[in-house]
Subunit: 190 residues, 2 copies
C-alpha cells in the first residue's frame, strides 16, 4: 500500500537495523484518516471471505481493527493480555511469547464472542516473529471458527513471522513489508 | 443517549450492586455501529470546543476514541500504562490508582504528541472513581494544552468520579449515567 509505505519513509524512525518506531501515526498517536485508507485496503483484500468478525489484540491493534470493521460491517473482539495463567473456563486461552519483553503472557478471548459460525479476520499493527498472530489463530481454531485471513499493517519481512504464517497455510496480507533497514534507510518488498 | 441506555439494559450484566459488565458491546467485543452513534453524539457535545486531539488510555478507550475522531477529524493519542515507574524525559507521566486492581500504575504520553497548541478531548469507556480521567487531565495540563472536555460512554453515577471532575471545573459529558443498580435492575440519571 503506497500511502502507508510513503508514511513509513516520512515518519518512521529506524533504531539500529531492526527497530522501526511508527508511534507518530500508528501505535501511540494514531492517524485515523490513514487508518481509514488502510481499512479500505483490508476490505479489498478480504472482501470475498465473508468475514463475520475481526479479532485483534490489545492495545495497538484495536484502533486499526475498529476503523477497518466499518468496511466489513462486523464487530471487533480484542484479545486481552495477562501475565497470570489463571484458569478461565469461559475463555479461549493461548500462550504468546514476547521477544520484546522476554516473557510469555496469556491471551484470552471470551467464548461468548467467537464461535463456530464465525469467519474471523485477524488484524494487527505489526508482524515480526508472528507469535501474537499465531496465538490469535489458535484461539480461532479453539472456537471452531474459520480463519478468513490475517491482515497486518507493517510486516518486518526480515523476521520469521511472515514465513511461518504463510507456510502454515494462513492467508496473510501485509499492507507494507519492510525487507531491510540499514543505516536508517528503509527498503520494502514488492 | 437513549440508544446506549437501551443497549445497557438489553445486554449489560449486573453483578452485585456495583459491577456492570458490558463486554458484549463495549470493552471486549465492540459494536462499531454503536460506536459510530456514540462518536456523533460526542461530536454534538464538543463540536464548539475546537478540539485538535483526542486523548484516551489503553485499552478499552481506544476503539471509541478512534471512531469518534472521524467526526472531529483529529488524531488520537492513547496513554500507555506501565507498572514500572521508570523515568522517561520524553514523556508526560501521571500516577493512577486502580481500585479494581488495588494498585498504582503510571500512565505515559510522549511529549511529541500533545503540546501547548492543542485543545484536547479526553474520551474513555467508563468513569467510576475518576482516577484515570484525572490522570489524563493532569497530562494535558503538563503539556500546557487546553482541556476541551471529557467524554465518557458510561458513568457510574453512584461513584465519586463524576462529582470530582465536575467540581474541579472539568466539562464532563457522559452518554449514559447509571444512578443505581439493585437486584439486577439498572436505573439511569436524567
Amino acid at each position: 500500500m503506497e500511502l502507508l509505505k510513503q508514511r513509513i519513509i516520512k515518519d518512521g524512525k529506524v533504531i539500529g537495523n531492526d527497530i522501526l518506531k511508527v508511534d507518530s501515526f500508528l501505535n501511540h498517536q494514531m492517524d485515523v484518516q490513514l487508518f481509514n485508507e488502510m481499512g479500505k485496503e483490508f476490505y479489498k483484500l478480504f472482501a470475498d471471505k465473508e468475514i463475520t468478525k475481526i479479532l485483534t489484540i490489545e492495545s495497538s491493534g484495536i484502533g486499526i481493527a475498529c476503523i477497518a470493521a466499518q468496511y466489513f460491517n462486523v464487530p471487533v473482539v480484542f484479545a486481552k493480555k495477562s501475565e497470570a495463567k489463571n484458569l478461565d473456563s469461559d475463555a479461549y486461552l493461548s500462550e504468546v511469547f514476547s521477544f520484546t519483553k522476554g516473557k510469555t503472557y496469556t491471551i484470552r478471548v471470551s467464548k461468548n464472542y467467537v464461535n463456530s459460525n464465525d469467519t474471523v479476520l485477524i488484524i494487527d499493527d505489526f508482524l515480526a516473529n508472528g507469535k501474537a498472530a499465531l496465538g490469535l489463530a489458535e484461539i480461532v481454531e479453539q472456537a471452531g471458527a474459520r480463519l478468513g485471513g490475517v491482515g497486518i499493517a507493517i510486516e518486518k519481512g526480515f523476521q520469521d513471522g511472515g514465513k511461518l504464517l504463510r507456510e502454515s497455510g494462513i492467508n496473510l496480507k501485509s499492507l507494507a513489508i519492510v525487507s531491510r533497514m540499514h543505516d536508517g534507510v528503509i527498503s520494502f518488498a514488492d
